[in-house]
């Protein structure tokens, strides 16, 4: 599984702690983390189930092109987790299937 660089012994300095919620449960992450990195560091590699077949997916490219890391953030569906920095109090939800369209 994924480990942070400082935990892996590279000497990188840890940033300030930021708390977000994922599906209602609190996790601690680091200032500057992307949501995708925070999820991986917290041991949550599968952030969504695909829209068509419902297969679990996780962050793949970490640079905004693959669209596999889509999550709901603060009530907005289909946000790219790797392109969004964590903010104190952010509410992230794992997406199961396609987003709702509220008629």
């Amino acid at each position: 599984m994924f480990r942070r660089l400082e935990a892996a012994g590279t000497g990188a300095a840890p940033g300030r702690t930021v708390r977000i919620s994922v599906d209602g449960g609190a996790i601690e992450c680091r200032e500057g983390d992307s949501v995708a990195a925070a999820l991986l560091a917290a041991g949550m590699p599968a952030c969504r189930d695909t829209a068509v077949s419902g297969t679990p997916r996780g962050p793949f490219c970490m640079m905004g092109v693959c669209y596999d890391c889509l999550v709901g953030i603060d009530g907005r569906a289909n946000q790219q987790a790797c392109m969004t920095r964590v903010r104190e109090g952010m509410a992230v939800v794992r997406q199961t299937g396609a987003r709702e369209v509220s008629a």
Partner: protein, 376 residues
Amino acid sequence: MAAAHHPEFDVAIVGGGLVGSSLAYGLRDGAESIAVLDEGDVALRASRGNFGLVWLQSKGFGMGAYSRWTLGSTRLWPRLAARLLDETGIDVALEQKGGLTPLMGDYEIEARLAWVNKLMAQPGVEPYEWKLLDHHQAASLVPGLGPDVTGAIWTPHDGIVNPLKLLRAFHTAFERSGVRYLPHHGVTRITQAGGVFSLETPKGTIRARKIVLASGLRNGELGEQVGLHLPMAPQRGQIIVLERTRPLHATPMVTLRQNDEGSWLVGDSQEDAGYADHVTTLPVLATLADRAVRTLPALKEVRAVRAWSALRVRAQDGFPVYEQSASHPGAFIVTCHSGVTLAATHALTLAPMIAAGALAPELDTFSTRRFHVQKT
């Protein structure tokens, strides 16, 4: 494989899009060997840029026979879809539960109503059920219909299919039944000698006893080589694709539909832009988006993921063209703008006629002769 190694085919279809593919699919019972000659991925390929409607209500204004022909195809569609599923395991996601043309305001309603009444009164039209719905009736078919949509034309015959899956199903059927699909065989020259056609391609010459020109917008120039003079007039359409959402179970509309896998198509413009299919234009896309959001306000929050332009295959008057060449017997031409809607009748009605070597008299009205009226 070098072309020189190919045998002489019974039938060669020029064009591997939906029109050529549906004909090749339907010809298999009546032809010993079939080749489908296609271009590569650079082909204009209306089959990959279309809206995927199986649609009757807007067809045949100016030619009643086209309405009747289309109605026949909508009736055959369930049979085609079932056969493809059985043979290839691919569900083309046909849904024929009715379709709507949304109308905004009194002017649009009155103009469309007059237009439909005039269409239905033409000779050659087989009457079918249609209704003008008010806002509330239309809203019962489209959850969350916007208040700007004050009316809609509805008919039970209209529907949708997944056009990409349809093309894939045809090509899968070819692999399983010995139809030779030959990409990168764009035909440049056609000659006929001793009852055999020679089709020159970048990959060598293909020989066939019968040929079917189904090469979309290239049918004009290829038709000339077998004595068929067909003026083409491409028409550009722009489409926006929205991200996948949960199914809303909205009745498909002529310019707004949800796909079986959740994405939405927002259409579509009708532009005279020559062959410029490589650009989209903001004024058009903005208009399409605005109408879509007024039709279904919930889509405001749904993001666009793609937009494209594609060219409709159109003969000058917009109606289909079916003809066997008088100067080159055995050469058939097939041109239409609704390769999806007509796929069923092309496979199940037209292909057997071509296999038998003659088009039925009912198709006379679709010949190129209508373009060559004497002007004194």
